[in-house]
């Protein structure tokens, strides 16, 4: 909000929880936020909204937080963007932090998005880095245009500065033995707020395959439309199993319904950064490259020698995808591949 921004002090991390546990992306944020708070010479606080879930405090108390603001209220029993945004807006108005960070999970993004319009400040989405500038403002850095550019975002005249941070970019900090953050229990008046949107059921995802998702493995084998038909994905699965790899897919085959959306690699899917990425039958649209171009080694297999994927690859084989992958499976089978890889 516009006004005297000098009253705003301290850095907050919103501690998102799900199924009774604080989520890892929130914990990861603590390490970066700690670095920023130290550079600014201000306190670092975690913010926990809950009801009847005291054990959440124990989960975070050993991390390098100076304070934990805890709001416990029956209305906060179930996550609701309406109520959680209201509670955070009230907290921010009372304690005036200079920066508030969220994990860029689905809930973190929708909550931050709602909150920033209520308290009239800025919000940078899905950041991958933060730096303190000499003038004390925080440089919030995020990829855009399919990860081809990095935008540096500043929020100089409004407070708090707010951002969400991409999961998996920062490491969860070490627990400090004997460390105890100061617990500040805050009573907020939420009685008159009744959320109009409510979750009435949760359906956990069924694991359809024991092959890891593409963002969960050090090697990724991805398939695209060049495989010709959905049945040929069996070969991609076989190769992935053999290499202890995750399996990914291009947008086109996901759109066609061959492969579930959670395996899509690319601008509108997952970003991966494995040590080895094998793209099979993928032509290499910028939208796909955006999601995998940070891989250490890229292998492309495609029958079109002009395919754009070859320009982004370390090694390429031109030819029929099915034939080449079958041959790879055969040759890898004859080698003893270390499972650790």
């Amino acid at each position: 909000m516009i006004g005297d921004i000098s009253q705003y002090k301290g850095i907050w991390v919103f501690l998102e929880h799900r199924n009774g546990h604080v989520r890892e992306p929130s914990l990861q944020l603590i390490s970066k936020a700690k670095e920023l708070a130290d550079k600014r010479g201000v306190y670092l606080a975690g913010v926990l909204l809950h009801y009847g879930n005291e054990s959440l405090i124990d989960e975070v108390i050993g991390y390098p937080l100076n304070k934990i603001y805890v709001v416990e209220h029956p209305k906060l029993k179930n996550y609701s963007p309406e109520l959680y945004a209201e509670a955070l807006a009230q907290l921010i108005n009372i304690y005036k932090p200079e920066a508030v960070f969220f994990a860029a999970t689905k809930n973190g993004r929708e909550l931050g998005g709602r909150l920033h319009s209520i308290i009239e400040t800025g919000l940078a989405a899905d950041c991958t880095d933060f730096q303190v500038l000499p003038d004390g403002n925080i440089d919030m850095i995020r990829p855009a245009f399919g990860h081809t550019i990095l935008a540096h975002i500043l929020c100089k005249k409004h407070r708090p500065q707010m951002a969400s941070a991409r999961p998996g970019v920062f490491e969860i900090p070490q627990n400090i033995s004997g460390h105890k953050a100061e617990i500040i229990k805050v009573n907020l008046d939420l009685d008159k707020f009744n959320p109009r949107a409510k979750m009435i059921e949760f359906i956990p995802k069924k694991e359809e395959s024991d092959i890891p998702l593409p963002d969960k493995a050090k090697i990724v084998v991805s398939g695209g439309y060049g495989l010709g038909k959905p049945e040929n994905f069996k070969l991609i699965e076989d190769l992935a199993k053999l290499l202890n790899a995750g399996m990914g897919a291009s947008r086109k085959v996901v759109d066609l319904g061959w492969i579930p959306k959670d395996r899509q690699v690319g601008q509108t899917g997952k970003t991966v950064r494995p040590k080895l990425y094998i793209a099979v039958g993928i032509s290499g649209a910028v939208q796909h490259l955006a999601g995998m171009q940070q891989s250490s080694i890229i292998v492309a297999i495609n029958k079109d020698p002009e395919a754009r994927i070859f320009k982004a690859a370390d090694y390429g084989i031109v030819g029929d995808a099915v034939e080449i992958v079958s041959e790879m499976i055969q040759q890898f089978n004859q080698l003893k591949i270390k499972r650790s890889s």
Partner: protein, 271 residues
Amino acid sequence: MLRVIVCIKEVPRADQLEIDPKTGTLKRAGVESDINPPDLNALEMALQLKEKYGGEIIVVTMGPPFFRKSLEKAIGMGADRAILLTDRRMAGADTAATAYTLSEAMQRISEEFGKYDLIFFGEETTDSSTGHIGPGVAGHLNLPQITYVSSIELKDNKVIAKRVVEDGYEIWESTLPAVITVNFGSNIPRQPTITGLLKAKRANVILEWNADYLKLDITKIGLAGSPTIVSKIDNVILPKRKNIILTGNTKDNVKQLIDYLIKDGVIEIDS
């Protein structure tokens, strides 16, 4: 009567974006633009609701006059009317200024055309990928929100929506009016029809509103009214690739490839 407002944005076509191989930077010049793909899913979901329950669909976009082309396409797909929010003073808006501008437009739409039941957005745009506009508008208008929705139905004056999250699905229920953001790829958007496209040429199907008409607080719009600014842009220089392309005999090529991968240490072999 059910009234659904669908907010769309025109974005550069991702399939036409290319990286300059020499500089490793994005080539943006001459790239065509089109409706943001997740917004097409939002529009399709709205059109299916209209087919089931009747009603009216109003499409809104904010941008320069040439964004009219996207509104014509939306009318061609079956939307009833469209509004282009266009004003130089709105240019360069961040998510906060955009959400403010759109929420004021929602108020104006309800004054002119009657109250709305649902406001739809795509989950995010492919150029800036924030996902903040839908929740931001919901916050401004103090409306309930359900995000990342893959399917929807109406029952007893409530909306019931399936929400896609990291570890599964959630079923949410909300009173109307509500803001919904639609998960990318949750349906297959229809193509515009010739008769639909002709309708877009009729008078008053597409309206243009500026900041004065919307009675906007000009300190809250455009670049000047945005809390955040982009202070600089760094091009992401892509790692240099070896570009060793093998053609010819498959067996030999695969052997050669595996040798390279072992030598690079990305495949480890127990000897």
